[in-house]
Symmetry: C2
């Protein structure tokens, strides 16, 4: 790239505790590298580009940008808008290039999961076809940890730490009231992959510790087994603490519970799940006859910067920096990955993977990480996740005893193109 071209960064999909930490890495490195003009933010993912809702992050205060590292959710704004294939959505892709041209944008950093990598890949290919000089770099993000070609995803370590601590705390609560047999359920996120549920295994340092049972989408779920598992656990401990992923499936691969209401699918066509904890509670109360309650942290599990993993925050930031450094070498069409070095000591560096490969891949919890009964995890799973939850992020606490987060001023640039229809 010649001269000082501008860069744009966008965030997509479900927020995480550290997607802003990655953005902070991208922005600070882009400003510091000396080869980039302005760094723009695309408000609400790719929609911001399409609508030309673009603001100048370079004009924000440096301390605002720095505070990004310690602010959860997606400060630039996210979206769930999915572009279709190049054939079907060609006008949209061309519009993206047009907007980039209009604002002299030649670097595109897209932070998201599979779908975002797919979008970035298509933008990259169209730019090449149109001979528009563009460097497209993917920045991985997902609490689900289901991206292929990376050891793990920024965002996962923090949600893992959060849900494991939830299991530990609520497990003590269940234990404190064990004068009668009792059951608690913790429902965690993870539609197709059980990485989040599996991480709660960290809380079980001793056999009596919660969680006693962990059910993942990767293992076919049956109510018969649930009832048997609950009865056996009660015999041993007079209490049972269950963790379930939201996307449990039966032996035929059908979701156990799917909200079929009219608002039951998101705009990606994903079925919106819910109610698995309620379903399990009803079955256990009816069949086993014990009081059952459930906790459903919901979006709190992916936004808990106040107890985020220090390792995760740092790796998210590192990935952002690596994205810019790769762009400076004029490498396009790649996503930054996290690479775990071999050996007993946890060392993590960055690598790269091709966007189209990532877009089409999916990484589920492997069979050897799940116990043979399909109701818990193995030590291999715990060895995998343990380093990722290490350390506590240093969140800023205000003089009111609560975390302090930033917001951008959002200095929007003047629009140069006709409105997006």
């Amino acid at each position: 790239m010649s001269g000082k071209a501008n860069a744009i960064i966008a965030q997509s999909g479900g927020p995480t505790a550290v997607i802003n930490s990655s953005a902070c890495g991208v922005i600070q490195e882009a400003i510091n590298c000396g080869k980039i003009g302005k760094v723009f933010g695309s408000e609400n993912g790719i929609l911001g580009v399409l609508k030309e809702d673009i603001f100048d992050i370079t004009a924000e205060k440096p301390q605002t940008i720095d505070a990004l590292k310690r602010t959860p959710a997606a400060a630039i704004g996210s979206c769930r808008y999915k572009l279709k294939s190049l054939d079907k959505s060609r006008a949209d892709y061309e519009r993206i290039i047009d907007v980039f041209k209009a604002h002299d944008i030649h670097y595109f950093f897209y932070c998201g999961g599979n779908d975002s990598m797919d979008t970035a890949d298509k933008v990259n290919k169209l730019a090449a076809e149109m001979k528009y000089e563009l460097i497209c770099v993917g920045v991985p993000k997902t609490i689900d940890n289901d991206l292929a070609f990376t050891d793990h995803c920024p965002g996962y370590g923090s949600v893992a730490k959060y849900v494991a601590t939830c299991a530990m705390n609520a497990g003590r609560d269940t234990e404190a009231l064990y004068t009668t047999d009792t059951c608690s359920i913790l429902e965690v996120m993870g539609r197709n992959a059980g990485w989040i549920a599996a991480a709660t295994g960290l809380a079980r340092r001793e056999r009596q510790d919660a969680p006693h049972l962990i059910y993942l989408p990767e293992s076919p779920f049956t109510f018969e087994q649930l009832i048997r598992d609950v009865r056996e656990t009660l015999k041993e401990f007079k209490r049972v603490f269950i963790v379930c992923g939201e996307g449990l499936r039966d032996e035929k691969g059908q979701y156990i519970t799917a909200d079929s209401g009219k608002l039951g699918t998101d705009s990606f066509g994903h079925v919106q799940l819910g109610g698995i904890a309620e379903t399990l509670k009803a079955v256990i109360e009816k069949e086993v006859g014990i009081k059952t309650r459930f906790n459903k942290p919901g979006t709190n599990q992916r936004s808990a910067m106040h107890f985020a993993s220090f390792t995760d925050v740092n790796e998210a930031y590192m990935v952002g920096i690596a994205a810019v450094r790769m762009a400076m070498q004029n490498v396009s069409g790649k996503m930054i990955t996290l690479v775990r070095q071999a050996g007993a000591k946890y060392i993590c560096t960055t690598g790269t993977a091709t966007l189209s490969d990532v877009a089409n891949g999916e990484k589920k919890v492997p069979r050897e990480y799940i116990n043979k009964e399909g109701n818990g995890v193995t030590s291999a799973m715990l060895d995998y996740v343990r380093p990722l939850v290490m350390g506590e992020a240093a969140v800023t606490i205000g003089n009111d005893g609560l975390p302090v987060y930033m917001r951008f001023e959002k200095y929007f640039v003047a629009k140069k193109l006709p409105a997006y229809m």
Copy 2:
């Protein structure tokens, strides 16, 4: 009291993040005061006394006792067993005195809410009637903050800090995805009193911050107002974040939602509530037509020692120490209270209240703490709660990145009486 009589401590009702901090204060002061022989723990509240399930806490390692201060839930074991009136449950009350006699117990520290203060009061009165030398001291505990005669209750500050942070974090998550109108609901505990829900008002530093709407059991709730409030908030922010207490009631004082299943009441006869968030979600999706999701932290909100309020932990500990100091002055039949000194600077000391008064009292959120629309809180409420959430408790983090909590070894004493029927 002459000689070195023994003491017993029991924990009752729903656990909190800091009920163990109070136990730590009682136990350490009882050991240090030089006038108490053994300190026993009554496993699972008053049931432990009745069943003679008593263990010797003096035999535990000092570091185990010290770690109590940083361990959530109820390490001695709690229960929801409620004794009836002296007339109806006289045999039970006499059994309690018999067990105390058998183990030379002359100090009884009971940590709980209204119901526990009622039990302690009755034990105290029967002991006097039977001329058994006994000092009964109540140690206040409840996340609900509904005990009368105390400025606030140990346990409340921590849950307030937790739910306010939940609103702050999840509020940013909702904000990040505001490409379409969207609604998030945070359901918090509080059956009859809205103190917990009201505390989330702390998260709203700016008008656009979550939560935009807070509904408390103290204000009659109507779906008409909900729908109107949601529509108005959407107009202003394109998103709405709602906090609701679990015990919302209509204009006739009836619960909006009450689980009527056979396991729907606890052994105190309280109706087990649930489903208010689900109900609100269904109404909003149907009437307003926007995607709505909910978070229900459940027991995680009352067991979150990893982000407990330092003020709360210290006050809980202070209350435990004050209980023993009062006992050493041979004062019986009182509960320790927290007394807020007048003035701008927050200073809190301890006082006392009569057990029977506390047992019959209840403190709801006063009208002047609720806004005139009944959908939010006033600055008076925020001024009340702000000091209680200050500071972060120093939880011990293990080499696996997660909190470290203690468990008692529980050296049970030999039973001396016939089994409890």
